[in-house]
């Protein structure tokens, strides 16, 4: 396995990009850090800049303004960078697909590796998603 990928699966640093969500997925992402779920014990840390991140968590349905920012964020991230789409909006735009201000789903802007559906997904689902992501990167079945 690529050394970079091997290092990536040890301790995933995540950056959280909210592209016009309703805040719920964002709160649940923050909830992961607080005592009940505490993902830092698994080596997952929320970082302040995408330049330090191994994974990009995307919530919400991109609008015309955030779509360009999301592209830029992905370009700035060091590669390999995995992208996780959190919530129904990021996975498939659900109720907002007819909106005049939602040009495309997340996976048409950046390549998405893991989809975690739900409105919002439960923190347990997010942890399970990250666990599957690690397995996928390692090439395990």
């Amino acid at each position: 396995m690529d050394l970079k990928l091997k290092a990536l699966t040890k301790s995933i640093w995540v950056f959280h990009a909210a592209t016009s969500p309703c805040n719920n997925c964002d709160i649940e992402v923050l909830d992961l850090l607080t005592p009940k779920y505490d993902v830092e014990r698994l080596g997952i840390v929320l970082v302040g800049s995408v330049r330090h991140a191994d994974a990009l968590l995307v919530t919400g349905v991109p609008n015309y303004k955030t779509r360009e920012r999301l592209k830029k964020l992905y370009e700035q991230a060091p590669k390999p960078c995995v992208v996780v789409a959190i919530g129904g909006c990021a996975c498939g735009r659900i109720i907002f697909q007819d909106s005049y201000n939602s040009p495309c789903p997340v996976d048409e802007v950046v390549p998405v590796d893991v989809y975690i559906p739900g409105c919002p997904p439960k923190p347990q689902a997010m942890i399970a998603g990250i666990a599957k992501l690690i397995k996928k990167v390692r090439g395990e079945k």
């Binding site: 309703c22 997925c25 920012r69």
Partner: protein, 397 residues
């Protein structure tokens, strides 16, 4: 102002959860002006609502904001019930109690959430962790009553979707009992702590006159001595049948805003306890089939302030106009006076002190066609809003 330096905050910044963009104009350490650029969260919800039928709109407006996801549907169903003759005449009494309980549970979780984030902003990560730890039992109660931790989907036109089962009530009561010592702890840890007092007192002051002039609502206004609360002034649910107090502080600084929110949590616990003991048995839904033509308004005291919905119906199954005004819309603009004059290091907590919720706020996009770029300040937005109302009064919209 030759030495003016612009400090950009955002749109993606570790300080904030939501993408929004502040420009702080500074001279030395002092903030002399501030620009707030929004539009990163606009999803066109008002327009979407006009293409969905009334039952679907309740789900749609819930997704305006994940934190006040009981207030928006509640205000919407109040507006629709206003067309049909008022909430108190349409909705069964038990449903009123259930709506009130869910509304107050939401206030508890929102205030704890804010308290945690405020602690995080001033470098008190312990407060953040503890506040969010005690927020978890409330989310579990929500999951028990509504089936979801966040989007509750309780309000529907003419009642509520789910009953609170008898077996849930002892759990709810016990959660409230367990929460009181936690709030006591926060009261002691935040309000009696000399460091927090030194850090928050006299910071981001919004005087009573300024609060009225900038038309702020909710805890932001109550912390500045403006005694307004929709729950008392225009009662909905069962707030008029229950004994509770409006918390008002005079100082208008961040400490007063914190104090208002902490003391409001006691009132919320008190309201939920009274509701649980007074709740009658009976129907929870009036089975409304049609919405008559007409127009109605719904006002709800969301955790951040007054949440306003206007619905116009023409007798079909869709609203022909749906207008939303969220509390942060007014509160965020007041940063123009609250944050200016302070230092850069205080800007973060001052901007956060109004508990801004941008996904609630963003209702419109404005582009100047000549330059394709125009920054709207609070007054411009208010002017546009007033013009729109005028157009609607004249029947042009």
């Amino acid at each position: 102002m030759s030495h003016k330096v612009i400090i950009p905050i955002g749109p993606y910044h570790p300080l904030q959860e939501e993408p929004e963009f502040f420009r702080l104009y500074t001279e030395g350490e002092k903030v002399v002006d501030i620009d707030i650029v929004i539009g990163y969260m606009h999803r066109g919800i008002e327009e979407l609502a006009e293409h969905k039928h009334f039952d679907q709109v309740a789900f749609l407006v819930e997704r305006i904001c994940g934190i006040c996801s009981s207030s928006h549907p509640y205000a919407f169903v109040l507006a629709v019930e206003d067309i049909m003759g008022g909430e108190q005449n349409v909705v069964p009494e038990r449903a009123l109690y259930i709506r009130t309980i869910v509304d107050e549970l939401q206030r508890l979780h929102s205030h704890l959430l804010w308290l945690g984030l405020a602690g995080h902003f001033i470098g008190y990560n312990t407060v953040w962790m503890w506040a969010w730890k005690y927020r978890e039992p409330i989310l579990e109660v929500f999951e028990m009553i509504c089936g979801n931790r966040n989007h509750y989907a309780m309000s529907k036109i003419g009642g509520v979707r789910r009953d609170i089962r008898d077996m849930d009530i002892p759990v709810l009561k016990k959660t409230m009992d367990d929460l009181v010592p936690a709030v006591d702890m926060f009261k002691g840890a935040v309000m009696d702590d000399p460091v927090i007092q030194a850090r928050l007192k006299g910071i981001g002051v919004l005087t009573r006159e300024q609060a009225i002039e900038w038309a702020v609502v909710g805890p932001t206004a109550r912390a500045s001595g403006v005694n307004i609360d929709i729950r008392r002034d225009d009662p909905y649910g069962v707030f008029d049948k229950i004994d509770w107090n409006v918390i008002v502080e005079k100082d208008g600084d961040v400490f007063a805003k914190t104090k208002v929110r902490i003391l409001e949590m006691y009132e919320s616990i008190n309201i939920i306890r009274q509701c649980l003991s007074k709740m009658p048995k009976g129907e929870i839904d009036a089975n409304i089939k049609d919405v008559p033509p007409g127009e109605g308004i719904g006002r709800v005291e969301a955790p951040r302030g007054e949440c306003f919905h206007y619905v116009k119906s023409d007798g079909t199954n869709r609203p022909i106009r749906h207008k939303i005004r969220a509390p942060s819309y007014m509160n965020v603009a007041s940063n123009k006076v609250a944050a200016v004059g302070g230092t850069i290091s205080d800007a973060a907590i001052t901007l956060a002190a109004v508990d801004p919720c941008y996904c609630c706020t963003e209702r419109l996009i404005v582009l100047d066609k000549a330059t394709d770029k125009k920054l709207m300040n609070g007054w411009d937005l208010i002017r546009l809003s007033q013009e729109k109302t005028k157009k609607m009064q004249e029947g042009r919209l």
